[in-house]
């Protein structure tokens, strides 16, 4: 998909510049953007590495498991039909925790494991290749992504001389939570409308 998006942005910009007369500015931007990207990457590398290091300490000390235990009361409510001792539930707990702590590298493999386990535990998914409610709920939790420490955002603000980069953190939390709530409510409403055909 990115193939098309990238091509459309570039071709669209070039065509647009013919109409707006910004061809000189466009030429300059092509020449300077690549350097600008490298400067951006270099200026962000320090703080990103620092946080990867801190989070690695957390992962090795087993804090992921401790946080997963704290999240368990919320997750049992979101996945009421799931076996609490099953493979899927455990993978979901670990994936949500890894996302929360910003361990992107750990979160994706755990998420894939959770999806496979959810498929195995669901008759609907296995027989009709249709996503069931638990799967959809799990994907919503991942697409809205609640992250305790939004490293990339902090580092880009920091490297551009923002006076208090950490001030955005509570806003990011609030916006993520709003997304999660709307996601959960809309999934539940969808299944309520389908009433009777699914365990609610």
């Amino acid at each position: 998909m990115l193939n098309y998006i990238w091509a459309i942005i570039i071709i669209g910009s070039i065509i647009c510049s013919f109409f707006t007369g910004n061809t000189t500015a466009l030429g300059e931007s092509i020449l300077s953007s690549a350097n600008e990207a490298v400067e951006l990457i270099i200026s962000m590398t320090g703080i990103l590495c620092l946080w990867s290091g801190i989070m690695e300490i957390g992962e090795r000390s087993g804090i992921t498991k401790a946080v997963a235990k704290l999240l368990s009361p919320i997750l049992t409510r979101l996945f009421p039909t799931l076996d609490k001792n099953g493979k899927a539930y455990r993978a979901i707990c670990m994936n949500v925790t890894a996302n929360l702590l910003g361990l992107g590298n750990a979160a994706t493999p755990l998420g894939l494991k959770a999806m496979k386990a959810l498929e195995e535990e669901s008759v609907l998914a296995k027989e009709t290749h249709t996503a069931d409610k638990n799967m959809i709920m799990f994907i919503i939790l991942n697409t809205t992504s609640f992250q305790l420490m939004p490293t990339m955002i902090i580092s880009i603000l920091q490297s551009n001389g923002c006076t208090s980069p950490s001030a955005v953190i509570p806003y990011i939390w609030a916006a993520s939570v709003a997304g999660i709530i709307v996601g959960i409510v809309s999934v539940n409403l969808f299944y309520k409308r389908k009433a009777g055909s699914d365990v609610f």
């Binding site: 990238w6 510049s17 707006t20 466009l26 690695e56 916006a175 709307v182 809309s186």
Partner: protein
């Protein structure tokens, strides 16, 4: 301010917990930092491509065109019109919206309201379509049911909340 305590607080909890559990903290740190370096290396090529594309979008006037076209909607919602491209870009490309955030910060300054709103929008959701594609790709699921509409609704709610929360300074 409360937010000043978040970063040192998280560091403190992680390091103290690790010491209690007997984890060798510094070697874990350096391994993790090396991993971070690898990640930066991995995202650099796509960032170079997308920063260029977004730079062109801005310089050609196409970005202004989008924000002008979206103005009736953004003003109805009470959010800055410069945030409009994020609603289109964020669900499909993480690096793309990051590149867009970079250009907004450069244009308006890192302390501006617009940059802050854009930063919160970029940070509060994942790249939804990528996530859905990868996760269902691991299974044999063909019918995704209400996944896409519900995920889009959640994304929209996140980004709208992000804008409104920043505009009205709720914290």
């Amino acid at each position: 301010m409360f937010s000043d305590y978040i970063i040192p607080g998280i560091m403190l909890i992680i390091i103290v917990y690790a010491l209690i559990k007997g984890t060798p903290v510094f070697s874990a740190f350096t391994d993790g930092a090396k991993e971070g370096l690898k990640n930066m290396y991995a995202i650099a090529p796509s960032l170079i491509g997308l920063v260029t594309a977004v730079g062109m979008l801005k310089a050609s006037g196409a970005a202004d065109l989008i924000t002008t076209l979206a103005e009736p909607i953004t003003s109805l919602l009470g959010i800055p019109k410069e945030t409009a491209p994020f609603f289109l870009l964020k669900p499909v490309s993480g690096s793309g919206s990051f590149a867009m955030l970079n250009s907004i910060i450069e244009e308006h300054g890192a302390d501006s309201l617009i940059a802050k709103a854009a930063a919160v929008m970029t940070g509060s959701t994942e790249t939804t379509f990528y996530c859905i594609a990868v996760y269902f790709g691991a299974t044999k699921i063909k019918k995704t049911g209400c996944t896409i509409p519900c995920a889009m609704l959640a994304d929209f709610a996140s980004m709208l909340t992000a804008c409104l929360a920043v505009v009205y300074h709720i914290f």
